[in-house]
């Protein structure tokens, strides 16, 4: 893919640009959290319990009097970390499994793809729940478990790309030159198979953020007092009749973030799709 043409096509897509800008903004927010947040996210102020949005607390306070806006700003760090680390792990596993299966074919392919089928049989959220229940819930465990349960899509994508690429004449030509298997995989096959992986990884970040929120909401994710969008929602659930802001703002943050990654992923997909004309 030609970089300049990719960018030209991407830039014309308004949704994709919106997604990109919002993703960039979420990066800035989480990196600059200590300077952006108006309060310490863990500062308990029993004089200011469950305040509705007001001039001092724009997004209100929770039952312990902590500032919701500050907690959401710091919570974005968790979401971002989980999103990128677990998707990075899933992508690495998927690339490895998919390359081996697609390159060597035969029995290797057969066994690895049956492993993929097996992993896809488990309802992955309950698998994650079970694993987290055994291990202790922590942000690192969550990232690893999400990573280990979401690599199958990438593996299938990479395998399919390899199956079609390995018959291409430039790959056969490299073989005729005497290229080693590693060289064929890393120089000739992988770089040409990465575009769909990029798309799926971007969409995967959205999925991982959702999973982390759900786990934290159930109390099996990031443990209080560390703020995460999921565990702020838990407090919201207990007070939903008297404090709508406790559910509304973290929900909005999750919605906007997930949506922006989806827009971005779709935008990349459309920009690299050779079937779409300029």
């Amino acid at each position: 893919m030609k970089k300049r043409r990719f960018w030209a096509r991407f830039r014309r897509n308004r949704l994709a640009m919106t997604g990109l800008i919002m993703v960039a903004a979420s990066f800035v927010i989480s990196l600059a959290a200590p300077w952006l947040a108006p309060y310490d996210p863990n500062h308990i102020d029993l004089q200011a319990v469950l305040l509705p949005p007001c001039a001092e607390h724009w997004w209100g306070t929770d039952p312990l009097g902590r500032d919701v806006l500050s907690r959401i700003i710091f919570g974005s760090q968790v979401s971002l970390k989980v999103g990128f680390v677990s998707v990075g792990l899933a992508t690495l596993i998927g690339l490895l499994v998919g390359s081996l299966a697609g390159f060597y074919g035969g029995w290797v392919d057969y066994l690895l793809m049956r492993l993929v089928d097996l992993m896809l049989c488990f309802p992955s959220f309950f698998l994650i729940l079970a694993v987290i229940a055994v291990l202790e819930p922590s942000i690192w465990n969550i990232m690893v478990v999400i990573g280990f349960t979401s690599w199958m899509g990438v593996a299938r994508l990479v395998r399919a790309e390899f199956l079609s690429l390995r018959e291409r004449e430039f790959v056969v030509a490299a073989r005729a030159l005497g290229a080693s298997d590693l060289r064929l995989i890393f120089v000739h096959l992988l770089p040409n198979a990465l575009a769909p992986v990029m798309v799926s990884a971007t969409l995967g970040v959205a999925g991982a953020i959702l999973t982390e929120s759900a786990l934290s909401f159930l109390g099996l994710g990031v443990q209080p007092p560390t703020p995460s969008w999921g565990n702020i929602l838990t407090a919201g659930k207990d007070n939903i009749e008297i404090a709508w802001w406790l559910s509304f703002f973290p929900g909005l943050a999750i919605l906007l973030t997930v949506m922006s990654y989806n827009f971005l992923g779709e935008g990349i997909r459309e920009a690299v799709d050779p079937r779409l004309k300029d």
Binding site: K2, Y110, E169, A173, L177, A179, S180, V187, N192
Partner: protein, 320 residues
């Protein structure tokens, strides 16, 4: 008699259609081929699409493992060699492909593309490689200004020149040219053919020239092999193909070559129908269902073997 560079003995390649897990019908892409390529010659290989020409080419270069039989390059059985010895031999044999759009890695610049052969075989240092690449580029009619461009910035003919340059980089002895001009405009075809002839003279190359176009093949081949459904049905020096007494299939192919003579009356094609499926080969001579001359019972029952008729001319037909 010149030295034999490459020889095949009863070379076969079968494909199982249903995949490796279930037993399915077997496709005999190459079936019992005995062929020799002499150092310095151009051997033309013609046949219809799907007759196994390309599969044979891949087998000869050990890019595909044979189901039966062997390939000997300079006396060594290619498919029994340890990996490092095979890699050494790969320097001596290269391939040029038909489709110039899929034969070059779209993510590599011309420089990386042409340096790759030297990188793989650990030849030369950085400066030497640069010099060699520039040299080889000039050899195929391109200049150093093309070094940092990507394949998509070139025309079909230029890309084919790049493919030839890559094949030439290691100074091989044998080049398998698999339909190297079929995807190009007629005007470009002549340029590429001339380039191939010129390079052959300069480097004493041996070519296996694969094509479905008999007129192209006869222009630069010393000997021609005709392939039908995985078998060689006729093999002989180019001059033989101007005579009569050929395999009926060859006669049909020759009659299909268009002659640029408007006064010549239109002749209906000699051959009817498509070749039979290589999965269900006809009994006896594989050509008999389409052969205008097949009357004998023998044609339907017995597979004809290649037999020498005159010196150096071989035909697989019961009637010749």
């Amino acid at each position: 008699m010149t030295e034999i560079l490459l020889a095949t003995y009863n070379l076969c390649r079968y494909f199982r259609v249903a995949g490796p897990w279930r037993k399915g019908p077997v496709l005999k892409a190459v079936d019992g081929v005995n062929l020799t390529i002499r150092a310095g010659e151009t051997l033309g290989l013609v046949g219809e699409s799907g007759c196994g020409k390309s599969t044979l080419g891949l087998l000869l270069l050990a890019l595909l493992a044979p189901s039966k039989g062997e390939v000997r390059f300079a006396g060594e059985n290619l498919h029994r060699l340890p990996a490092n010895r095979l890699k050494e031999l790969r320097r001596r044999m290269q391939i040029i492909f038909q489709d110039p759009y899929s034969s070059l890695n779209p993510r590599m610049t011309v420089r990386r593309l042409l340096e790759e052969p030297y990188v793989i075989h650990r030849l030369g240092d950085k400066n030497e490689r640069r010099a060699w690449v520039t040299e080889i580029l000039a050899e195929v009619g391109l200049g150093p200004e093309h070094l940092d461009r990507y394949p998509h910035e070139f025309s079909g003919g230029q890309r084919q020149r790049l493919g030839i340059a890559r094949a030439l980089a290691l100074k091989p002895e044998l080049i398998v040219a698999d339909e190297p001009v079929s995807a190009l405009d007629v005007s470009i075809q002549a340029q590429i053919l001339n380039l191939l002839i010129q390079l052959q003279n300069r480097y004493q190359l041996t070519y296996l020239f694969i094509s479905h176009d008999l007129s192209v093949v006869s222009r630069l081949s010393n000997r021609i092999a005709v392939m039908y459904l995985g078998r060689i049905v006729e093999l002989g020096p180019r001059a033989v193909f101007a005579q009569s007494g050929l395999h009926p299939y060859t006669t049909a192919l020759l009659s299909a070559v268009p002659l640029p003579d408007p006064t010549r009356p239109f002749q209906p094609p000699h051959l009817q129908g498509d070749p039979p499926s290589p999965i269900h080969l006809p009994s006896g001579c594989p050509f008999h269902p389409r052969c205008p001359e097949a009357r004998h019972l023998q044609c339907r029952e017995e597979v004809p073997q290649l037999r020498g008729t005159t010196t150096d001319h071989w035909v697989a037909c019961h009637l010749r």
